[in-house]
Symmetry: C2
Subunit: 458 residues, 2 copies
């Protein structure tokens, strides 16, 4: 049997794990600095909890878990035969792997509402799964790092989340970051103003294709929605606006006129962007972008997307937004939530490509004790125990093989020191210490071993 | 929709996550001290990689992932109708959630054999999933912490793994641990000696029921296997042996006689237990136990199981053993592996019950800045920025609500300090610092804020 992996999944070697841990640690520290606390939820949820939140496309990409044993006998063969695949899978699956961390969080908050201290600031760093077609930067299993607040509609939170993004990328030493911001209510107002009569979800679904098909493609799709040519041309103008955030917002405000003062998307965005606590810099730009739609159905207010401006190909490396009343699906009403999610794996790819990881993140053995067979085994065991008692990471080579093989093992594992005690050393009560970095070796009295090693390790 | 969880799964609150992180950190430190390096593998593997390794019962408990979309049309309705559930699920599922970490590790080693530095000592701390009936200490999603070595058959590794177990429980401050040890080759020899003719796997499957049905139950099951009454009575005697490890091993040796010298199970166990590097202590007992069988098919040599002697109900809290040539399934021949796995969730339950976690493992906000509305907002933002620039974990309460609500939020979150700046303070250029632990408050000049706080936080 070939040892192959399912497509879109990856193994992580010790070096990769240690780099990923380095990243996780930076992100955790940022979250904690901003007052977020960690929670974890199960990898799978009941299918009905997940379904219906992510857009039609999203729902299709949810990994479903097959019911086991007897329950499988309830398979709805009729729906299979009539090609109703969705109905068929419902009959044999009740659970699904989480697609994101936001819906499980909303479910968590509703379930644990009596124990939660609101406004609840939580972070969550866990994998999610999507049955998406794998490509560069797109995996079927990937890690999301989310920070959300549920229980306040304060716009300060949007500001603080933008600051949190800046903090994370600063800690990761990643420059050339742009955070784009838009507002679902602005999009809603525009859809009304141009006379879009279909469900608003469809408007965002169309707009979400902007990156692929451009404003011309969007206009072509909207033409089928019975929208007047002049309104389409107005929209095209707005979608292609370039210039400062102020200029774009003013142009949209002029287009919308005074009829949409209730829906305060523009006010929200103005208030967020005019907060002088947040400022664009060379490394971290904040840009209003009307073409930003986000592919998830649950957003109702501000929406964000983060990108690395020097590598467009990798797509978004984070995103988020405000979702009013998402928890009401699970029985907790009138709660506003807002959050941001980092695409850990894409950021990891970028950092690898840019070579910004510290040279050595691996935590490896500090001392290898070479194996010279039975005669010296007892003394090696004693040394092993003594070094470990000092919390020095130590291993004893398990087999009596040629010393060159043992040294090569230490070299490949970046072990800095090897202790050698052969028959001669046993007689002279000495040990040889090889320093593999400096490629030198010296003999010392066995009695001094602990102090010699402690001094070297520091 | 009710916010309920799939059975056998759990949410973890901030306090639970921080306790679990505390445990993970101790286990990681132990693994690294013994020279193990971390790897990670995907949550799901191709079904054929997993199947056939865990016993029949195990195979049934593997969570399968439903194929998506078009592929579902290949559902084998005929096998469903003829009640061949296993065949039916194969036709609609190609991937499965990992059932343990050993098989994915063997797959990893085979796949990456050219990049690996053998003997390869890896640790892996990741969840596994089993469609088992949930009960006290048994979950459908739980965390395993494995340390394995592939590429050496040295018995020193068994000794070192036993020491590693002692290290882990010592670091976790858990006493009353027993590690039981047995050897598949001893069981094999015994099965031959009593004339068990069926596949050896069936012998271990029967013996694995010992905890539930006792020696009488075992003998009853074996009676059906056409084994003579005198041999059954010999076996019953061996299964009920009590006394020192030496006594038990000697009794088995006498029973087996000289005809089984090739199969050196007894030699292995003697060599491991006679190593004076490992010693039973009051907190950590090492016990040879012939009734230990382990439910996994892949073990070929020594087998271990760890239990907490003061709480039998929770079952095994860890286990492991040697598996020769497991990687050959995936194309890498002649590699011996040995490892140990800790059942993180059961140990977590035990530690919670025993109350051995440090009082406060949560990392929480250090300073809350109270919100007194627009007028004081700017100064609060400045303070927020300044404190965070000093890496002090600080948050600004997002809403202008009654101060008592804000203080109650801080109290529940264990935030030690609250900064209050109302209109009066704005005029007098002061701030109030509330110390919620000591339940006192004082005013200080605003100019001294950073130094006052830094001093308090330490």
């Amino acid at each position: 049997m070939k040892p192959i992996l399912p497509k879109g999944t990856r193994d992580f070697s010790p070096t990769e794990v240690s780099r990923r841990n380095y990243m996780k640690e930076k992100i955790k520290l940022s979250y904690e600095k901003f007052g977020f606390e960690p929670i974890e939820t199960p990898s799978f949820e009941k299918l009905e909890i997940l379904r219906g939140n992510y857009s039609e496309e999203g729902d299709r990409l949810i990994f479903k878990i097959l019911n086991s044993g007897e329950k499988l006998k309830k398979a709805d063969i009729r729906s299979l035969k009539s090609n109703n695949i969705s109905q068929f899978s419902k009959s044999i699956s009740e659970k699904a792997l989480r697609y994101d961390l936001t819906i499980p969080f909303a479910r968590y908050v509703s379930k644990n509402q009596n124990a939660i201290n609101f406004p609840f600031k939580r972070y969550q760093i866990q994998p999610v799964w999507r049955a998406d077609r794998p490509q560069y930067g797109r995996f079927q299993e990937f890690l999301q790092c989310d920070a959300d607040i549920i229980g306040s509609d304060s716009l300060f939170l949007e500001v603080d989340l933008i600051l949190l993004c800046a903090e994370v990328f600063n800690k990761l030493d990643l420059k050339h970051i742009t955070i784009k911001i838009n507002h679902r209510k602005i999009l809603y107002d525009i859809s009304k103003k141009i006379g879009f009569k279909n469900n608003f979800k469809n408007f965002t679904t169309i707009l979400d294709k902007f990156d692929k098909i451009g404003s011309k493609g969007i206009i072509d799709l909207l033409r089928k929605e019975d929208i007047s040519t002049s309104k389409l041309s107005d929209l095209k103008y707005l979608l292609n606006l370039e210039g400062s955030n102020e200029f774009k917002l003013k142009s949209i405000s002029e287009f919308l006129g005074t009829s949409f003062t209730e829906n305060n998307g523009l006010n929200d965005i103005n208030q967020i962007l005019n907060n002088d606590f947040i400022q664009s810099s060379d490394n971290f730009k904040i840009e209003f972008d009307l073409t930003l739609a986000r592919g998830l159905d649950y957003y109702t207010g501000s929406i964000f997307e983060i990108s690395y401006t020097k590598n467009d190909g990798i797509g978004s490396i984070g995103g988020g937004g405000r979702y009013d009343d998402l928890t009401s699906t699970f029985g907790l009403k009138n709660m506003s939530g807002v959050g941001v999610s980092f695409g850990f794996d894409r950021i990891y790819l970028l950092m690898n490509e840019l070579g910004v990881f510290p040279e050595l993140t691996n935590i490896t053995t500090q001392v290898l004790i070479a194996n010279f067979g039975n005669e010296t085994e007892k003394i090696c065991f004693d040394i092993l125990r003594n070094l470990r008692d000092k919390e020095i990471r130590t291993e004893f080579y398990p087999d009596f093989v040629r010393i060159n093989n043992q040294l090569s093992y230490a070299n490949k594992k970046n072990i800095p020191y090897v202790i050698i005690i052969g028959k001669n050393e046993l007689v002279s009560k000495e040990f040889i210490l090889k320093d593999l970095d400096k490629r030198v070796q010296s003999s010392y009295p066995l009695n001094n071993l602990l102090s010699v090693i402690s001094k070297k390790i520091g």
